[in-house]
């Protein structure tokens, strides 16, 4: 795509178009490909904003575990177009941590091109102040891609009512023997849980940090590299603590 997107373009509907204009044209998509039978783990951290496009090619029976952590002040967008071949597996965890006037987006287009592939996406958004967080998750199962198994879970935690969360699952299924599960929720911190923690000695800020950390934890469960997982956890905790 070379033309500047507009609001009418579905995938850019919630973007900060003024910021997009300044960033246009975006750099070419980065390719992540895993060879047949291979396994790869990749962590994408976005701290400085910008548009980050990825094209993922998963050969037959390969596995990619991808974690995306976005924590930036301005406009940040991570878009992943993934092609899954026979028996391939994509595990994608996404975390958006937004405050101030940040606009952050994760846009995924997971294509089960061949039979027997599986994908599991877990995206968690934590939004404070006037931040806007968006997750657009498209899953496309091709006509002959029988026995596809796609799971998608998107949850947003709105810490202040001035923040905005947009979650949109989109399933396009052309095969008949498939499993596709998806769920979206937007909510606030559970007051009963907060009081329970406070009554045991945690300050309100400590209680909120612990609850929020538990909220995003699901997005990191796919990582096998425990050092990488701990580093991302630490980054999340640091973000939570600097705000309280």
């Amino acid at each position: 795509m070379t033309a500047l997107p507009t609001r009418k373009t579905e995938a850019w509907r919630y973007a900060d178009l003024r910021a997009v204009e300044a960033l246009w044209p975006p750099p070419p998509a980065r390719l992540i490909s895993v060879r047949e039978g291979g396994a790869h783990e990749e962590v994408v951290r976005v701290r400085d904003g910008g548009i980050h496009d990825f094209r993922v090619e998963l050969a037959a029976n390969s596995t990619l575990r991808l974690v995306i952590l976005v924590q930036s002040a301005g406009y940040a967008r991570v878009a992943v177009e993934a092609h899954l071949h026979e028996g391939a597996h994509l595990d994608l965890g996404g975390i958006l941590l937004g405050d101030g006037d940040a606009t952050q987006e994760i846009v995924t287009d997971v294509r089960h091109d061949k039979p027997g592939a599986s994908s599991n996406q877990r995206v968690r958004l934590v939004l404070d102040e006037r931040a806007t967080g968006t997750y657009l998750g498209r899953i496309a199962v091709a006509r002959d891609a029988q026995k596809s198994d796609a799971e998608q879970s998107a949850r947003a935690l709105v810490l202040k009512r001035t923040a905005t969360a947009n979650l949109k699952p989109e399933l396009e299924i052309f095969a008949d023997d498939v499993k596709c599960a998806h769920g979206c929720t937007v909510g606030e911190l559970d007051k009963a849980a907060r009081f329970y923690l406070q009554s045991r000695g945690l300050s309100r800020a400590e209680a909120d940090a612990l609850l929020t950390r538990a909220f995003v934890a699901d997005a990191l469960t796919g990582l096998e590299d425990s050092a990488a997982r701990e580093a991302l956890e630490a980054e999340t905790v640091a973000w939570l603590e600097q705000r309280s």
């Binding site: 009081f195 923690l197 406070q198 009554s199 000695g201 300050s203 612990l210 538990a214």
Partner: protein, 246 residues
């Protein structure tokens, strides 16, 4: 230890406590009984500092400190423990991480050193054995997948680990079968010491067979209407609240 004088409190706009007075000294066990809607749970939540429970009149001091002026976590660090009637499930936070975080938060607030991992696990093993909670359960999310009885045993377990001065137990006996009631009672009895006090909020006399109270109070219409010894609970059981509180 705990002195409550003429306490009035609202939940939302609705007055629930209407002039409640109570004095609990170190070493004592008090039971507060009363019909549904008398204000028992409201009293527990007001003392622990829950949001939405507004004190409109009266005072409550804990070891001379104005309790009502403290944040909920400061009350915990001062030595107040609330055992919940409905313990909350918190997925993603393990029981052990939660308890260690809570214990160290209290210690920091009191100006004490944090507990070492070894000492913490020593306490955990001792208390969990008494309350028949196994290590796999403690590694799971807080109360996640716990039965009603297991949740109450977990409350008693936390009481044993956190070692407060005053245990305020809100219907700790509700939903327990006979064995669980005995186990939880054992936890409470282990907690009893001359420098600690217990305030039991309960509907039934049953718990008081296991944990002998020094005083029994009847709470009705937002006030204590009758105070007696352990025998008062037996009289209530025989005559009902209507006979006593009327």
């Amino acid at each position: 230890m705990l002195v409550i004088e003429n306490l009035h409190a609202n939940v939302g706009d609705k007055p629930i406590l209407k002039g409640l007075s109570l004095r609990v000294n170190a070493g004592e066990v008090h039971a507060i009984m009363g019909p549904n809607g008398a204000g028992k749970s409201t009293l527990a939540h007001v003392l622990a500092g829950r949001e939405g429970y507004v004190v409109t009149q009266g005072t409550a001091t804990f070891e001379g400190k104005d309790l009502l002026d403290l944040e909920p976590h400061e009350r915990a660090a001062a030595g107040l423990f609330l055992g919940f009637q409905y313990p909350v499930e918190i997925p993603g936070v393990s029981n052990l991480l939660f308890l260690r975080t809570a214990l160290n938060a209290q210690r920091r607030l009191r100006g004490e050193a944090e507990i070492s991992g070894v000492d913490f696990m020593k306490k955990v093993r001792a208390e969990s054995a008494v309350l028949a909670l196994d290590m796999d359960m403690l590694k799971r999310g807080v109360n996640v997948g716990f039965s009603g009885g297991e949740k109450k045993r977990n409350e008693a377990f936390q009481l044993g680990i956190l070692e407060p001065k005053l245990a305020l137990l809100d219907e700790t006996d509700s939903g327990l079968d006979i064995d669980a009631l005995r186990i939880v009672s054992e936890g409470i009895n282990r907690f009893r010491r001359p420098d600690r006090a217990v305030l039991l909020i309960t509907h039934y006399q049953r718990l008081l067979d296991h944990v002998r109270p020094d005083y029994v109070h009847v709470l009705s219409g937002g006030r204590i209407v009758e105070t007696g010894g352990a025998d008062l609970a037996l009289r209530l059981e025989a005559q009902g609240y209507e006979g006593i509180a009327a």
